[in-house]
Symmetry: C2
Amino acid sequence: MYIVGAGPGNFELLTIKALKALIEADVVLHDSLIGEEILEKLREMGKELVNVGKRKGSKRRQEEINELMVRLAKEGKIVVRLKSGDPFVYGRGYEEVKVLRENGIEYEVVPGISSITIPSFYEIPLTRSGVSKSIVVIPGNIKEEEVEVLLKNSTFVVLMARDYAENVKKVLTKAGKPEDCPAVIIENGTTKKGRTIFCKLKELPEKMKEVKGVTMVVVGEAIR
Amino acid sequence: MYIVGAGPGNFELLTIKALKALIEADVVLHDSLIGEEILEKLREMGKELVNVGKRKGSKRRQEEINELMVRLAKEGKIVVRLKSGDPFVYGRGYEEVKVLRENGIEYEVVPGISSITIPSFYEIPLTRSGVSKSIVVIPGNIKEEEVEVLLKNSTFVVLMARDYAENVKKVLTKAGKPEDCPAVIIENGTTKKGRTIFCKLKELPEKMKEVKGVTMVVVGEAIR
């Protein structure tokens, strides 16, 4: 079973790894937002496609999707759960992975190009030297009153964090995070040397001492 | 000339489109952070690799990179400028594209998996239903005093924005954005039907009336 990010819609913006999983697949369970171009290619490849999207008017619920994934996997089928963008950015990847774990089903997660990166395609920079060095991602239906607690409630992604552990702790405390807020240090990206160190916000400076490579930090209740 | 995002380090997390550009390339100008696994494969493919990374101790400046890109392209070489992660998220893609435009060089941008998506690979959710629905991305060296103006200075990425234009305007105004702040509506991702509508924050509700597909909005000074 593979949980695969399909990226922002074009077949060629699938990763090599996503393509390999799709070639192997017996069944593809996909969202409603998957690009038509990708679905067309999958049909040409003779794949069985099941639209499990939860759009307006549809009554399908997450539980039904979970049951279907588990049933197909237990029948011995190679299943690709294909999600638009990236599975873990507004994608319920977390819930689905939890179900697979609870049912003892082996799976692999294949990241995809998140919608957050779509501006890149149009040459629109999200950060610019001397103009803006931070990005805030929100859903359109966020409530006006949530703005006041936006920093406190957000998940923080801190890039190039290794040499700034003490600063990161200070900055996030100032942004409203409690000192026992869950945090994770990710060293060396997704390479073979990649690894994660889970801790609390207050422990960041101590834990960072073990780290040598390129490092990011994620802090927030969502990662608990 | 291609400006290509190499993603988070693994060869298989290159996109199909990135691989096609690399197969075509005569020369690859790459950052210091590009995964060793990717460089190894490119060497096997017989590609000429030039490390133009600007890491500590290196004196190479952005101007030298710009000059090299322009010179090679004018010599008729097919050049891939390979950037770790995504070219437009903390990547100076904007500056380099500007230089190419000014020199009349044809180019294409190929988005990559941004470092922001690395947690996905480790099954760490950035958002979670009922826990956190927003993400803040910052560099480790952000200053403590910048927290107070973090929302005001950030680029906002608003997902699933189509039916909430009036709300988005209100929320971002509350977050400190002036009403004539630059904004862009992106409809239908990066697919063939994809398009952008540039406007000002105050014009969002009016401009959104033309839009039917899946839509995101980006607001901030960086996109001007």
